[in-house]
Amino acid sequence: MTLLLPHIFNGLTLGLLFALIALGFTLIVGVMEVINLAHGSLFGLGAYFALTIIGAGWLSDTTFGVWWLSLPIAPRYILALILGPIFAGLAGMVLELALRRTYGKVPLYGLLLTFGAALVIEELIRLGWGTGEQFLQLPQSINGAVLIGGLIFSKYKLFAAGFSMLAIAAVWVFLEKTPYGAIIKAGAHDSEMVRALGFDLARLRLLVFGLGAGLAGLAGVIMVPIWGLRPHVGVDVVIPAFLIIALGGVGSFWGSVTAAILVGLSVGITGAYAPAWSMMSMYILLILVVGFRTRGLFGKKSALEN
């Protein structure tokens, strides 16, 4: 009765979405060796900024707001998709400035500071946007359903999975094929070298953290039409992101992408045959892999191991 193929396809899309969720988290852990527990809150923040951009927020009663709202949804959505993550990235930069005080101390302090920041951001969201459920409007072209092999799939979800592939590719190109990427990677492993070459390490870290936070915000804008938007939406994000990093291995870009796809497949396929176990399957997968491979699938040695 239950055909396997559609579920594998579904699991793959799900995996790509998980990869997008973990992308910013991976970048910050890999390069800066900071576990950013505010990742989920920045994810939410990005989506809330997008919401305000699409709906004009407190400007909605002004002439500008009325004009803006009279435009079709597509240009407003595209602008939100660009600006939402940028604002989240800026918020991330502010967080990095606070984080500076923890550098050179126990790595745990960074994790704790971001835990506190997560609480603060969530409460600020509650004050700024209210506690209720919100809805992010989508352009008609990426909304609705599509028939594949006689089964209905969500057009938006396919768009999100495709977008996630693009984002993964862009980050990879940035890290591997541009001079900035080379410096960032060098900064991760040899800060003295970067300094000796005349680069400002402080600025580099600000940039990387901003980028990671921006990617969190981007994941938020993309995921929220599927998950819904509420102030505590971020709590759904941190744990999968965490799991994916541990599974893929800290510091490995492709490790975390592979791990995300594996998690997606395991959730998707258990969801088809033993749905009551679909959430549990992620944890069992992690324990199986990390129980036998110390550093996950492709992990490298990291300062976070001490």
């Binding site: 923890t102 790595p107 500071l113 965490f242």
Partner: protein, 338 residues
Amino acid sequence: MVTLSDISRRSGQWITPQIAVFALVLLSLPFWIGPIGLYQYIGVEIAIWIIFALGFNLLFGYTGLHSFGHGAYLGVGAYAFGLFQLHVGVSLFGGLLAAILAAGVAGAVVASFVSHRRGIYFALMTIAFGQLFWFGAVKMHWITGGEDGLLNIPRPDLNLGVTSFDLSGNTALYYLIATLVIVITILTWRAVNSPFGRILQAIRQNEVRASFIGYEVWWFKWVVFTLSAMFAGLAGGLFSMAQESAYPDVMSLHQSGLIVMMVLVGGGLVNFWGPILGVVLYFIARDVLGAITETWLLWYGLMFVAMVMFKPEGLAGFLAELKRPSEPETWTKPAEEQ
């Protein structure tokens, strides 16, 4: 900066002046908690969490193993206590023993997976196991009552053979728990100042070096993990006695994060008394802020961020510096050196 290893040792002593003062404060609490604007139940809760925190800091502060899933063992203890009362027999010592053993077994199983792990992988594995326990508790609702929890757990009397005490009042229950806290404080104090405690600290400072000296590092990690799970189990058993129910929420990642937060804010990384200070500060801050404002989490979060930024050694570190203001910051272990 001070660290735990700088604390002057009095290994010959079972009871130091600090312990005596602490015991006095604990035992006199029912007389002054009302007048300062609090209530007996919060005293019960603080005392329970002190037991949890002291055990947790053996692992966290002394051995440097950062577990983020410790709420699970508190939960296992709570359920074990409740199930014992409901299905085996109403008995205080039976229930507490069941709680300690159940949490100990759960801890030992998890410890055999994680004691070969370090740093972030250790932390991640503890999170994964914590989530498994939480899911298990919600899923096995025919045993645990699911998200509604295990309800109407009887509070057994304290039966000492010759005489028996009714613990149904919160003050009576408090005295039982306070007595346990004092015993446990003395035992932990002895443990951390024993050779065993010094090995734990050696593992924290440098695991590789400790193993070169010839210690079976993973074995010590296994023991201390199991031990701290047993502390958590005892605390959990007492918690289900206080609430007369056991709920799965204490096993969630959020609650496991709270104990880390408390221990760190108090200064568990630098001082034996840190976890205790942290628990007291957390409960009182939450209670007072929570009654004043609905956005108490914002203020608590900001307070916490400021603490990590400006005084990461916590309250105990702050107090220690007041005593020794001229000490230079010598301890550095920057992550970027690797």
